[in-house]
């Protein structure tokens, strides 16, 4: 579905936000999930570790308990666990696709995508017949950064595409939260660089307070002032 809901959303963005914002957006489901409430992206590796999967579920459950919509990219690994956990714990989720709306990637997530379209929200900036290209995914990651109030990075290797989302979120002034075990991983260089520019470390001690205090950057102000 394409209608003027996204053009209204796009018109409210600052010039800085519009730089990487899609010019059009296709969606199926409840578009108000984008314009209302706090939204947090939960992202990370496709080849996530068992501990990473466990952390994804715990974080997603915690977000749902706080009434926060879980945003992710329908990919294998962290994304799939994030969407499934949001659904399992009766929360809301937004899938931001790196493919046209009719195409689940990976194809094993076809049923998950159908459920998200039916009961939540699926969005894509790619029209039907848009070719599958690797660069679609960094573009998708920037869109996720735009529509989210915060991005939580569960696990990401040195060359992971998740880094694109982290940097775009920092550029937009959104919160970037890096799991403590990732921030302290001496084999990675990207966490230290992101922390230098404002990413925060998410720990067991601060997770509750942090998630309770995420600014609502993205909700519409639909009253006169």
């Amino acid at each position: 579905m394409v209608d003027n809901k996204y053009s209204k959303y796009f018109s409210r963005l600052s010039d800085l936000e519009k730089i990487h914002a899609p010019k059009e957006l296709f969606f199926e489901g409840d578009f108000s999930l984008i314009t209302k409430g706090v939204k947090v992206s939960v992202v990370g590796s496709r080849d996530v570790s068992p501990n990473g999967l466990r952390r994804t579920e715990i974080i997603s459950k915690t977000l749902v308990e706080k009434g926060i919509t879980v945003v992710s990219g329908l990919a294998k690994g962290v994304d799939t666990m994030a969407h499934n956990s949001a659904i399992k714990y009766q929360g809301k989720t937004i899938a931001v696709l790196g493919t046209p709306l009719t195409k689940a990637y990976p194809s094993s997530n076809k049923d998950l995508l159908a459920k998200i379209k039916e009961e939540h929200l699926a969005i894509s900036q790619f029209p039907e017949e848009y070719p599958f290209q690797r660069k679609n995914f960094p573009m998708r990651n920037k869109t996720m950064a735009l529509i989210s109030d915060a991005t939580i990075i569960i696990e990401a290797g040195e060359k992971s595409g998740t880094r694109h989302q982290g940097w775009e979120a920092l550029r937009l002034g959104r919160l970037v939260l890096i799991m403590q075990n990732v921030a302290e991983d001496e084999s990675l260089t990207w966490p230290k660089k992101m922390i230098e520019y404002g990413a925060q470390v998410l720990t067991r001690e601060n997770v509750d307070y942090t998630l309770n205090n995420i600014p609502n950057f993205t909700s519409a102000i639909d009253f006169a002032f």
Binding site: R12, L13, S14, D15, L16, E17, D149, L170, R171, L172, G173, R174, L175, I195, E196, Y197, G198, Q200, N206, Y209, T210, N213, P215, N216, F217, T218, S219, I221, F223, F225
Partner: protein, 209 residues
């Protein structure tokens, strides 16, 4: 000797947790301000025209944006600068001088419990001033949100070293009111003081009730 009393102005009240309509509005404004959206910021700043107190506060001043909690990422949002631009574009102030920088990151105050917020000294140690000619004696350091005032006090102290003859004030577009259940109105211009106690390193906002 670093100042122990800092005069500040503010335009909007912000409630982090209140349930009223005004409290909810204040949180949406906070989000738009922190996203650095010029249109919303300009509309809010225009309310200064209805406050003789704030008009006088800004008169004949140069604005200096207070940096975020980390060094500036080129091409990224800078809410304090957007607020400065709106104030200057509406001719409440004479100009802007972006001389104050954050040279090392510090944990975000808004994400810390009250016992773990960075102190005045911790903020002070992360700041630097690029000394340039300041065209006015009155300097107003501009921030998006004022809570306890530790950032403000640290920035004032840093600027006083470089501009010892200047009169330095602080303006925050939003003032946090976490000690009341709900705020009655969002637009609430005010001029008040922050006390700094050098022995303890603590700050106290005079309007806290």
């Amino acid at each position: 000797m670093p100042s122990e009393i800092i005069n500040y102005g503010t335009l909007l009240d912000y409630s982090p947790y209140g349930d009223s309509e005004e409290s909810a509005k204040s949180r949406l404004f906070r989000g738009a301000i922190k996203a650095g959206r010029p249109t919303e910021i300009d509309l809010l700043i225009k309310n200064i025209k209805d406050s003789p107190e704030l008009i006088e506060f800004f008169k004949d001043s140069t604005l200096v944006p207070i940096p975020k909690s980390s060094p500036h990422l080129p091409g990224s949002t800078f809410p304090s600068l957007e607020i400065c631009k709106a104030i200057a574009n509406n001719r409440f102030s004479l100009g802007i001088n972006s001389c104050l920088r954050r040279i090392t990151p510090i944990r975000k105050s808004s994400l810390q419990t009250s016992g773990n917020r960075p102190s005045v000294k911790e903020h002070y140690d992360t700041l630097s001033v690029d000394i340039t000619i300041m065209p006015t004696k009155k300097i107003i350091l501009v921030d998006d949100v004022l809570t306890r005032g530790s950032v403000s006090v640290a920035c004032v102290h840093k600027m006083e070293e470089s501009y010892p003859d200047a009169d330095i004030y602080v303006f925050a577009l939003l003032r946090t009111k976490s000690f009341v259940a709900d705020i009655e109105k969002v637009i609430n211009p005010s001029v008040n003081k922050i006390n700094y106690y050098p022995v303890s390193g603590k700050t106290y906002r005079k309007d806290v009730t």
